[in-house]
Amino acid sequence: MLEQLQNSFGKIVKTLRGEGKITESNIRDRMRDVRRALLEADVNYKVVKDFIKTTEEKAIGVKITKSLSPGQVIVKIINDELTALLGKQKYNLKTASTPPTIILLTGLQGCGKTTFAAKLANHLKKQNHKPLLVPVDIYRPAAVQQLEILGKQIDTDVYSEKKKVLKRIKGAVSFARENNHDTIIVDTAGRLHIDDKMMKELVSIKKTFSPDNTFFVADGLTGQDAVNTAKVFDEQINFDGIVLTKMDSDARGGAALSVVKATGKPIAFIGIGEKPEDLEIFHPDRIANRILG
């Protein structure tokens, strides 16, 4: 789509010879194309509105010089704006002053939390950490078993005590200290942001253990609803970073922009497959390019 944009912008300003300014009238139509592209990429409707407005303001009055075509100038403004929005802060994993560092994974059903838990443990192992996986999804059939199997696959300890959620985490912290695990990764059950009981559980985990890093795991294919869910999770548990999964798909990933804009939180990791090694550090420019198609 970037190519199409360049060509269509190029057309508008073909009528301006040599040096010329981008005017309101010639940019408005092109912005409609950008709006369409962003909506088709699943960027939230309100986020698109704001983005278009801001970008239009930046583009109007920009001088065209002989070194760059008008199309290139406008595309660069859009790309830069998108990249800036996506990548304002880089995420740095916080460590606890007294181990273990606690990492809490949260998110809706089926977004990839359990798989990410294994990926994160694998990632930490490669950096000479000794992570401990802590499954606390005591609701979904075979959820604990799932993480136990994944733990075995990456030769990482899994702490699972037949207790309720808070007791499990408490036991895991003690176990970690006794066995020199410097990090524990807590994998929670998928839950709806409108499920009061389950959101209360998350709030109590946060209050009781003050995790050093709380991640909101989101499905990279999410549509307009991404803003609703991210906002509520952020309001209730003030997460530190976002993990966007299933980006090995052909989804444009507009949810990335929606969630970052709605919460102001950075994207920390990207999931690019089902295996433990399928984890990527977030690159804002790559995602920006992808959203624009």
Partner: protein
């Protein structure tokens, strides 16, 4: 000239926002807004009803299923995490309540604890279960399941498959192979290939429906997680493009949380 006689722009903007937020998509939203722009100002109080009528034309009323084969073989497919395994649990209970003798098979040999997950559902719904805890060949499980369904005179066989992205051609071929293998036992099977879609997913669901249809032929849709705030409006575009019926809606994580699709109720929910 017509501006003084047609509906207010601001009302149309609100409707456009509602449609887009429901994941109806840009194209369909534009089409609908174009139609609404022609509505006379005198009719503007009826605007919502006119919109609902327009949406209703996009989707057939209550969808019905074919019921007269035995065993009826249903293959459940879809991308990762949409709710296939859970939906099988719910459907097996639903069909059992209808007096059917059901067998469910765990042909997902990839995902950690997929076998265990479906087995627990079979216990919950009281249906027979087949799988291979050490299995590595999904087609082999499907084959055994088809054989068993015939031998045990089952009414319905539902086969669970691993979640897979439609962009992974080797995995899509694996599904096509599973179909061929099932046909060796029951030539007309699978009678149904149901694509499970997650209502929180956006426009990518359209690509999913197109690709799965190309690879294995989709005969029905199941839309899950409608107990959340997502509206699943993308199914309208899918239904419009591919004419695939929508059979069931997942509205929760428990055994009874599955309802038959009702287009009237669905469209009303889309707009509130």
């Amino acid at each position: 000239f017509g501006k003084f006689f047609t509906v207010d722009e601001t009302i149309l903007d609100d409707i456009e926002a509602a449609l887009l937020s429901a994941d109806i998509g840009v194209d369909l939203t534009e089409e609908l807004i174009k139609k609404l722009k022609l509505v006379k100002k005198s009719e503007s109080t009826r605007l919502n009803d006119i919109l609902k009528d327009e949406l209703k034309t996009l989707i057939k009323p209550k969808q019905h299923e074919v019921q007269n084969v035995k065993p009826r073989v249903i293959l459940m497919v879809g991308v990762n995490g949409t709710g296939k395994t859970t939906s099988i649990g719910k459907l097996s209970s639903l069909f059992t309540k209808q007096g059917k003798n059901v067998l469910i098979a765990a042909a997902d040999t990839f995902r950690a604890a997929a076998y265990d997950q479906l087995k627990i559902w079979s216990v919950r719904s009281g249906v027979e279960f087949l799988g291979n805890p050490q299995g590595k060949d999904p087609a082999a499980v499907a084959f055994d399941a088809a054989r068993s369904a015939v031998a045990k005179n089952k009414d319905v066989l539902i086969i669970d498959t691993a979640g897979r992205l439609h962009t992974k051609s080797n995995l899509m071929q694996e599904l096509a192979k599973m179909k061929k293998v099932i046909k060796k036992v029951i030539p007309e099977a699978p009678h149904d290939v149901w694509l499970v879609l997650d209502s929180t997913i956006g426009q990518n669901s359209i690509l999913q429906a197109q690709e799965f249809t190309k690879s294995v032929g989709v005969t029905g849709l199941i839309l899950t997680k409608l107990d959340g705030t997502a509206k699943g409006g993308v199914v309208l575009a899918i239904h419009k493009k591919l004419n695939i019926p929508i059979y069931y809606l997942g509205v929760g994580e428990q055994l009874d949380d599955m309802v038959e699709f009702d287009s009237e109720k669905f469209i009303n929910a889309l707009l509130d």
